[in-house]
Structure formats: C-alpha cells, structure tokens
Amino acid sequence: MADVVNIVARMLALEAGRAQRVASHLQFNIQPHALVICPLAMAGEDTTIHAVAIGAIGAEPQIRVVPDPRVRDDQYGLVRWMGDIIEAYYARCRANGDYPQIWAASGAAAGHLDVMADRLRFVRDNAPIQRVGALLTYATERAPVEGQQALMTMTGALSAHYATGQQEGEDQHLGAVLVWLDPPADGDTRRAVAIAEREVMGVKTDPDFDRDVLQPLVSRYHQSLKSGANAAQMQVRVKAIEDALSPIVARIYAATQRGFAYLIDRFPPSGVLAQLHAHEAAVFESFMQARDGGMPLPYRDTPKAGAFKIAEREHAAQSVAAGSIYGDAMAQARARMAGDILMGAVRDVTLIRVGRKRVFRFIVDTAQQNLHMRARDELAWLQDPRLKCVIEGVDKQGPLSSVRLRVSAGMNAVGAPQDGAVIELGPPPPDWRALGRERVKMASRLANTPWTHARDAAPPAPSPRRRPISSPRSRP
C-alpha cells in the first residue's frame, strides 16, 4: 500500500506552501565529524571529477578544481588530494573506534562517488589511487544497505524527515527542498522553487554554462598548452577555470551545509540509532582490517561473497523495519497503516494450566482494514516488548477482525493484558546479534564450496546403482 502518511503530508505541504514533518525522531546518526563531499563532473565525463568541495559540518570548504579532468595526471592529482583528506579522516575514526560518515548533496552525487570508487580501485600500477578507490568503496558499498550510516545524501535525509508539496522526483534538487523548508515571505513557494531550480545542485554543470563559459575556457587552456605558453600564462588559464567552477561547487556545498540546520537538534534520536551506530563501527573496522590484510574488493562477487552480502542486506532491511517502530511515532503510524501493527481492544483473557505451565490466551478485536497477520506469527507488545504472543488464528466478522493470541514469553515480567484495554502488538524488536551468528554459521557452512556453486568445477560423475525388479508403490 502506498505510504499514506507521506501522501497526506505532501498534500498538507502543498496547501501550506511549506514542508511538513513526517518523522517524530531522527532517522540516522549524524556524525559530528562527518565529511561533506560535493563533486562536480564535466559533461560526458562520468568517471572523473572536475571540481570538488570538501569540509566538515559547519566548516568552510576546501575546494579543488582541475583545468581538464580528462588529463590523467591532473585528475590523479585531485584524487590524491581528496584521498589524503579521506585517509586522515578514516584514521581518526578508526583510532576512536568510530566510523566515518560521508555526506553528498543528492543521489546523483552519491552515485558519482560510487562510480569513482569502482573506477579508481581498479587503476593499475598506481597504489595511492587504488587506495582512494578502496576507501571510497567502504561508503559506496554500504549505501544500498538498509540502515547504513556511512554514505548519506542531504536530499534523502531531508525527505526522510519532511514532506514537500512537490513530486518525489523533484525532491532530488536540494535547492528546491530547501525552499520548501524555508519558504519566501511572500508565500509564493512555487515561484521560489522555480528560481532555485535554475541553480545547479547535481553533479553536472548547466548546458548553457558549458557552451558559453566552460568550453571556451577549457579550449583556451589547451591552446595555451599547445602553443607552449609560459607558467604565468598557464596560471591565468587555470585560474579562469577555477573561478568559473568554484562558485558552483561552493553553492552546492553551502546548500548541503544548510540542510543540517533542519536535522541537527530538531528531532530526538530514534530508538534504533545506538544499535546502528555500534553496527556501523563494527562493519567499518572489519572493512579496514580486510584492507590491512590485502583482501581484494572485486567488482563481481563469487557465490560465497554474494551470499554473505545479500544475507547482510536482508538482515539489515528486516532489522531496521522491525526496530524503527519502537520509539518512533511516525514509523508506528506507517506500520499501523500497512497492517504490520495490530491495534485493538483486548477481550476474553483466559488462563489454563497445562501440567505446571500456565497458558494465557486472549483476543484482540480490531477494525483495521489492512492487517498482515497470520497464524503462528509472533508479535510483541510495543509498550514492553518482553511480552510476546503467538497468533493462533484470525477470524473475520464483517469489518471486524478478531485475532486469537497466546502469550509465549514475558508473562511473569510484564503481566497479562487486561480485558478491555487497548493494546498494540507488532513485530518483535530485532536481534542485532543475529547477523553475527549467521555470519559465523555461514563461514563454517561455506568453508568448502559445493560443486553446485563452483563456477569452474564439473559435476561429479554419475554413480549408477543396480535397480530392483519392482518399482515403488504409487498412490493414486
């Protein structure tokens, strides 16, 4: 079912001309030492960086521009400069048992860093450049994992907390989102958004700017190179390109920094953040240890590596989904709408004794239209998840659903639900240590690759057996 909460919030935002909050709690950790990286690419050049602005939260940016990113030595110079900053940052985090966090302005910028990471770590005969690629890969490989805290986008972060009055795709322009968060005094938000959208906020410069400004500057730079211009003349050419591009990355950087103002100290932390922090730190340390050990970062996974990665992603998605509903009112509202939380009145609480065991049963009546509840599902009480119940059946009578439950744990610690009380039951809190246990089990199980999953191994030769005279009895 579509996210009704977000649809309603977007309609309210449109009506008010101002973004509306769609989260009650902060959805991820914002590392105070996080590094903001705003890259800019030349049109048609998807695997290089033309200009980049880097800095900590609240700090002025360091900006680096190359005259032409297609010139390999210039490009590698920029990458090494960026790499020195990232290396030092990672080292500080590692020394403190913490993890690094990189912020990009938008999904496009994060995607560009992903492409750069893939490209750089396969550069041949240039260890420092490979190293930059490997370090960036930590953040970019974490990005698709639910609940990751390593590579964040400001547009994504703001969308997780606020709904604008425009379409989801339009929220990829950071400048437009910031207008919805801080609309103009005259109330004409749409006009202000239209103006903001003229400003580049992605990773590519404006085509008019390319044609009228950048392309002539780059051409003149190459002409000067070819004509053997002296150092001072070349410096003029280089500076002209820097002066053209620096303001653009500086504006993207400034917009990204502005976004933090709408996140930091605006929301209490969500209940899962402490777990996500600890998990991310452990993943980072493991990643760095693998780099210390010289482990490669292949582009394509072996079946074994793929199994570990997909298991981690599935575990993360399930854990974050289950964990976010504890202590986050909006996440709870979404889960209620989606039918993942049962909310209703308790009736018919019964206690029977089976031997020495006490068995509590009760029924919850609900009018929820969307209910994803099946027999044998386990639920926990949102108020105190130590109390766990198993669904024994779901009966439907007109618009009412009656869910029959048996208490499976927490009876002594929490007590039985009371007749007539309104109760909310949802998926039990995630077991954050389960992934660790699963990885240990997988490592032991996959220590030897079966022939079925070895790409270069032939199936074992058939070993025929002598057949009996009669065939097995078959049932009609």
């Binding site: 997909i310 009412l400 032991s444 078959s474």
Partner: protein, 449 residues
C-alpha cells in the same frame, strides 16, 4: 491427445525422474507447469530413496507451511514408513502433524538415524543445521524456484545428489534487499536456485512434467502460451463440467453460464473505476457472485463423480492483502469456508472454483508488482474446474499506456517487467479474441444489500 495418452505421458515422465536416481545423476532440475504433481514427485523420490535405495534423503521447502504439507502427505500416504521433520525448537507444530505417529519432530542432526531416513524441513532450518558436512545421499528441493540461490548454496553441501523441483512460471523469491549489485549476474545470489545452477553448469540434467492434472484443457490453452512459452504441456482432463440446478436471469448469470458451456476461464468486466488498493464495489460483486453460484445449486463432475459445490471448494485470490480483507469481511458465516488469500499465499494450493481479482483492475498505474507474470500465473492456475477473473474496464488500455521501456542488462536476457507485460497483453488479447470477456453493469452486491 486422449486422457489415457496424457496419463501415460505423465507416468512415463515420473518414471524417468525416478530413474535418474538409479542412474546416479548428480543434479536434476525438474520443471513443472501448475498442478502437474510436483509434490507427488517429491513424495515418490523420497520414498524411493528411503525404501528401495536405502538412502538418506533430505527435503527442503521454502516455508514451514510447505514442509508441514509434505510431512502430512508422506505421513498419511505411507503409514508404514517413518519420516522426520527437522524444525527449530520454537516452531509451533500443527496438531494434526503431531498426531501422526509416523512423523517424528527432530531438531538436530544427531536426532536422525544413522541409516536410511527422510527428513523434511524448510530451507532456513537446513541452513542452520548443526552439522556442515555431507550428511545425505539425496537432497530434494521442493518449490525450488522460490528459493534464492544463496539459500540453496547454504544447504547444497549437505547432500551428494540434488533434485530441484519447481514451477518456473510462478512468483520469484521475495528478497527484501537492494539487488542492483547483482543485476548483471545470471547466477547471482538472488536468482531462483534452478536458474542459477543451470547458468553455472549448463550440462545439468533438465526434465519437464508434460501434463497438468489440475488444469483442464481450456485453461491450459490460455495459461501455456501466456506464461510457459518454453514449457509445452497438456491437460490430463478435458473438462470438469460445472452445472447449475437453477437457471439464471441476472446479468451476472451470463459469465456463470459460460462456464457451464465449457469456458473454464472467463473475465467479468465491471465498469471502469479508479479504486486503488481496495475496490469495495468489486468485492461486493465478487461475494454476491459466490453466493449466486451456491444458491443456483452448482454441481461439479470430476474424478469423484457429480458433487454439489460447497464453500470449501471455492477460493478467492487477490494481489493485495487489503483487498483480501475487503473480501473476507463480506463473507458471512455461511461462506466462512471460502478460502481467501493473496496470490503469494495461494502458491501450491488449489480449489474447484476460483474467483480472482485482476492485479491491474482499478489502477491508474502498472508497476512491476502488478505486472508480475508470476503473480498473474498463480491467480489463473489455481482452479480445477473454473475461474472467473474480476476486473475493471480499461486493463488493455492501461497496458498499452504503460508499455515497459525495457530494463535489460548485457548478458541477461530476462526482463521480468517486459515478460509480465507481454503475458498480460497476451492474456487480454486471447480473452477478447475468444469472446471470454463478459461486461456486466455491476451493482449486484448493492442491489442485494
């Protein structure tokens, strides 16, 4: 093809499958159309392994429910043999399984006998088994197309030989994770286990069950070209006639009487309406029609003879849980035995009569979820006698409007979204061509109320 010839063809293929084990074939992928007796083959392979070959056999299913179902069938069908169910200690075991004297519940490898045995469990339980070495002679993976390859990887080393049985036309495994990383990998960890195995080892033996015992010929003529263009099959039964004791006079009786005339798959088209995830009017109409079938005294003639249709012989399947609930809340006490579920949950199940809601009905868009050919295939292949597809006018127009642009990758010839769109188009075109779309004015439910 006569029924006897079809039966002989089906039996011959089962013998071929059983024979692969005597030949010591290291891996077999057995493709099956709907209702061709997949689970029956799994049963026979298990029993052959245990009783005749004196082997240790493990059976893996995607879910606990499927494991219970197989244990139930083996326990009841072969009362003189003992079977084992490998489960986690916390799993609730259904009482009827506990009541089977020849099905023992076990939790660890040491609980199994040293010698020949058949142990059934879901894939997750097998992946957590306390032993990692090769414990079994034969591993049977039932509903193997629902098992992603990485889950198969976790259990493959437990046995020397493998038989992967599944329906390639049904819903792919549900994986809650971002999969872009493996998009270009034909044997990636997310790919259904049989496809990944064949991608890695193209020489793996492949067989196909050629006869559907569930679907009748008329339905097979729709389902086979739309969903199984590469898996030819025929129906064992030409028809299972449905008749009504009382003639009909309402507009909705026309599609009901079409089934009496031998049309096993018909579409009931209601006036266009954008309804979103829950279409209350369609739910009213559908439940009214179920009542109508029963009040007109429907009977079915099948292998058990002529029998009156009861609510327990009727199923309703929808794409979305919200619509399932909308249907359930309209079924009074008299229809409480009608089984209503989503397409995902209907996999592996069947009913004599099915009422299904077309996934694209009443929608303004056509997402990959609604276009999924597996989902539509499941919906249209659960019935043994007749299926009424309920939908809003405009599905064909909607399909034309949302023709997928194509999302293929180099080296991957599959394009699930396009395949789904193609299957949907093919179905709608065939229904229209063969005069199977019955336009009704709607409002039957409201008039009754």
């Amino acid at each position: 093809m006569t029924q006897a010839a079809a039966a002989a063809l089906a039996d011959a293929m089962v013998r071929d499958v059983l024979s692969t084990q005597w030949d010591g074939v290291s891996a077999l992928v057995l493709n099956s159309p709907p209702g061709a007796g997949k689970t029956g083959v799994a049963e026979r392979l298990s029993v052959q392994g245990l009783a005749l070959m004196k082997e240790r056999v493990m059976v893996a299913t995607p879910t606990n429910e499927q494991a219970f179902d197989l244990a139930r069938r083996l326990g009841l069908g072969f009362p003189r043999l003992t079977f084992f169910m490998m489960t986690s200690r916390s799993l609730e075991i259904p009482p009827d399984i506990l009541a089977l004297a020849n099905v023992q519940i076990v939790h660890a490898s040491a609980d199994l006998p040293d010698g020949p045995c058949v142990a059934i469990g879901n894939g997750a339980k097998w992946s957590w088994l306390d032993a990692d070495d090769c414990q079994f002679d034969l591993q049977i993976v039932d509903e193997a197309y629902q098992l992603p390859d990485y889950r198969f990887h976790l259990i493959a080393g437990l046995a020397r030989r493998h038989v992967l049985i599944g329906d390639p036309g049904q819903i792919d495994p549900v994986i809650q994770a971002e999969l872009e990383r493996w998009r270009c990998d034909v044997s990636g960890p997310h790919v259904p286990a049989p496809r990944a195995l064949i991608a890695r080892h193209s020489g793996v033996r492949q067989l196909s069950l050629p006869v559907s015992r569930r679907l009748v010929s008329d339905t097979a003529s729709f389902v086979q070209p739309a969903f199984y263009p590469d898996l030819p099959f025929v129906a064992l039964h030409d028809a299972r006639p449905v008749r009504f004791a009382t003639p009909g006079i309402a507009p909705m009786d026309i599609p009901l009487d079409a089934v009496v005339a031998g049309e096993s798959l018909v579409m009931v088209e209601l006036p266009a309406l954008l309804a979103g995830d829950v279409d209350h009017d369609l739910a009213d109409e559908l439940v009214w029609t179920i009542n109508r079938v029963l009040t007109r005294g429907a009977t079915i003639e099948d292998e058990s003879g002529v029998r009156p249709i009861t609510p327990a012989m009727i199923g309703v399947a929808c794409a979305r849980v919200a619509q399932v609930n909308a249907i359930r809340e309209r079924l009074g006490a008299g229809l409480s035995d009608v089984f209503v579920e989503t397409a995902n949950r209907f996999q592996g199940l069947e009913r004599q009569l099915m009422f299904v809601q077309h996934p694209l009905s009443g929608r303004a868009d056509a997402t990959d979820f609604h276009l999924d050919s597996g989902r539509l295939c499941v919906l249209l292949s659960r019935h043994r006698a007749a299926c009424w597809i309920f939908g809003r006018d405009g599905i064909s127009r909607q399909l034309r409007r949302y023709a997928p642009v194509g999302d293929r990758s180099l080296g991957i010839s599959d394009d699930p979204e396009f395949e789904g769109w193609r299957a949907n188009m093919e179905l709608m075109r065939t229904l229209e061509q063969r005069g199977r779309i019955y336009r009704v004015p709607g409002g039957s439910g409201r008039r009754t109320a």
